[in-house]
């Protein structure tokens, strides 16, 4: 037994010798967020935000920026501006300025993808405007900026206003020949940051957005999910428009592909949505069965209208963000799919959606008239 203890001791002693990888936490800068903008002269503006646990530094973080010809060169330049050893193992957020996103982000995404220390769960976010200046600002009533943005995105995707998009999902959809990636788009306001909507990509190029009011409808078309809230405007009998507020949303997506003629297929997205009515100031009495059905029909119609609008927009932008191509591809032979120019065929396709809305409950209102 003693002999074994010696071995263990020896192992411990030897392990302590791995000194070249010694890391002292006070001397490491864990990059939490990074941003990249494309400047008019073709150079890149790279910025990073590094949280610091030093009471002498009031902001609680270090913000650095530089101009370089590529992302990696920029990161190396930044490393020379600080007394900390920068590491990207804790990177949570990659911001791309709109200027960069419109020109394509593949080169930089590839840099992060190849770095084994960068996690695939890093969030990819587009900034409407200058990403570095958004990251540089301190929003006084909120946590330090990087963490604040990360929190906003996490919360909004938790509520399914925007789908959850990470480096993983971006790469996955980029490589998938039947789908285009998406990423949330945010903007800076006077003293806060707001989610503006869902950025749509064609391959790696930003081509347009769905604004956040339509976000939840988009998410319904995008995938099945639970949890979320939304509002629908209904026109009442008296032509008055009322806003209905729902929460506890559950949405189930089914994609049907119908091939009528030998030509292009027709795609129908069936969405089954259930939600609780939180506030309905309108004329129908929800406790009345007939009225309830009428109410559900009206909501379904309105959601269908909004859904179809989104689909039209995506088709016009030639961005297959919903992954319709997956279903078209899966209905054809491999040879036909390869011969087909999906990018060009996609806008011509007849894609429609159909929402079936059901009221789960209508809270404590049992009323009136």
């Amino acid at each position: 037994m003693n002999r074994h203890q010696i071995w263990v001791l020896l192992a411990v002693v030897l392990l302590c010798g791995c000194g070249s990888d010694e890391r002292i936490i006070d001397k490491i800068g864990f990059v939490q967020s990074t941003s990249q903008d494309l400047l008019p002269d073709g150079q890149l503006k790279i910025a990073i935000s590094v949280p610091i646990a030093n009471p002498e530094i009031k902001e609680g973080r270090e913000f650095l920026q530089t101009v370089a010809i590529s992302n990696k060169v920029g990161q190396m330049k930044l490393a020379r501006q600080t007394n900390l050893k920068l590491v990207s193992g804790q990177l949570r957020l990659i911001l791309f300025g709109r200027s960069q996103a419109e020109q394509g982000i593949w080169d930089s995404i590839g840099t992060y993808y190849r770095d084994p220390t960068v996690s695939e769960t890093v969030k990819i976010v587009i900034v409407d405007g200058d990403a570095a200046s958004l990251l540089s600002k301190d929003y006084e009533s909120f946590p330090r900026t990087g963490k604040y943005i990360d929190g906003v995105i996490a919360k909004e995707s938790g509520e399914h206003i925007i789908p959850k998009t990470t480096l993983y999902s971006f790469l996955r959809d980029y490589y998938n020949d039947g789908q285009d990636p998406i990423a949330p788009i945010i903007r800076s306001e006077t003293d806060s940051v707001a989610v503006q909507g869902i950025g749509l990509f064609r391959d790696d190029k930003y081509v347009g957005e769905i604004n956040s009011e339509e976000g939840i409808i988009f998410t319904c078309l995008y995938r099945s999910f639970k949890r979320g809230e939304f509002t629908v405007n209904l026109t009442e009998e008296s032509n008055k428009i009322v806003s209905v507020f729902f929460d506890s949303l559950q949405s189930k997506r089914m994609v049907k592909l119908v091939r009528t003629n030998p030509g292009n297929p027709e795609i129908k997205l069936h969405l089954k949505v259930k939600a609780s009515v939180v506030d309905y100031p309108g004329e129908l009495t929800l406790s009345n069965h007939g009225d309830l059905q009428e109410f559900e029909r009206k909501v379904s119609e309105e959601m269908t209208r909004r859904g179809n609008q989104i689909i039209k927009k995506l088709q016009a932008l030639k961005a297959d963000s919903l992954g319709v191509g997956n279903f078209v591809r899966n209905s054809m032979s491999y040879k036909d799919w390869k011969e087909m120019n999906w990018r060009e065929e996609y806008p011509k396709l007849n894609i429609t959606c159909n929402f079936t809305f059901k009221v789960k409950d209508y809270g404590f209102q049992h009323r009136h008239h």
Binding site: H4, W7, L10, A11, L14, L15, G17, C18, S20, D21, G89, Q90, L91, R92, P116, T117, S119, E120, T121, Y168, S169, L171, R172, Y174, Y175, N176, D177, G178, V255, G323, N326, F327, R329, N330, Y334
Partner: protein, 358 residues
Amino acid sequence: MTEKLSPFHATILIYMSQVGMGIFTLPRLLAEQFGTNGWLVLPIAFLLSTLNILLIAIVYHLGQGRSIFKILEQSIPKFILYPLYWVLIGIWSATGCLIAKYYIIVFQMVAYPTANPTIFKFIVDVLLFLLIIKGIYNIAKAATIFYWLTVPLLLLMLYYFKDFEWARLTPFVFRDHHMSVSGASNLYFNFIGFEMGLLFFPYINRKTKLIKSLLVSNSMVSIVYIYVCFITFGFYGYKHLSTIQFPILNILAYIQLPFVQGTENLFYGFFLFSILITAGMYLWAALETTHTMIRAPKKLLALFLVIAVFVIALIPDTLVEVMNWSSNLGYLSTGIAIVLPVLLVILLLTQRIRGEIT
């Protein structure tokens, strides 16, 4: 020699020798080589490996449980046989040490980029030495404990079902493939390890039901591979998958905890157990072969073997070199797994015809 391997221990031991470093790259290999739904090639590999195990069954049956070294020595003169033994020892021990080296160099890449891998290798080799001198029964017991430590990792894979999509799998089978002999061999390398069963003959009796153990463990391995690769294909899509060096490391890193990122480091550590057994079994096989030629104490032989192996492993020192070496050794070990039982069957049949055995 009263102790004999129990069926359960034999099964787990073989299972642990079959599962090695290959699993980290297996999904990528399948996506790269076989294209869409490449995981479907796994059942085919399962059938082939089952046939291979049946060859071992024939050897066991015809040889009536005699040690393979006795079978060989009966028909082949020693001056031919001994060089052959040395070849076996060389390949087995090099395979064992390369598996360990491979594990370490990947560990170093993800966790300690500039640390000297030789120190890690030394420690692992010490562990391997301590393991193999204990003999097969104790290795089997260690394997059983290690097995239970690695099983929870498999349950982790269920987590990825929430991002799994059937549509991403595509209905196409083996489209966009780039099949090659080396790819097929690398795939089969993930299954071998069962040839260790050939060396178990002196350590078992009828109750061990060795062949059944081999078949069961091979099925377990196949199920695990199919399960893991199927999920990975639906999680990434074959195109993306074919670009990821170590898909299983990536997928493990996908689990994010609020306070720690890079969870793969944590999980990867558990894999050491599986690697210890895989590498240990190859070294043990080399040791057994050495012992038939040199009647020295096993501990002493093991010491020389481990030192030799340590020195060999110093030569390849980059990931690319290690991957090349292990791929080449993969060919050789695969060759042994197929050729050795065939050779033994031929020998046994000739011995039977000549009436040397009943």
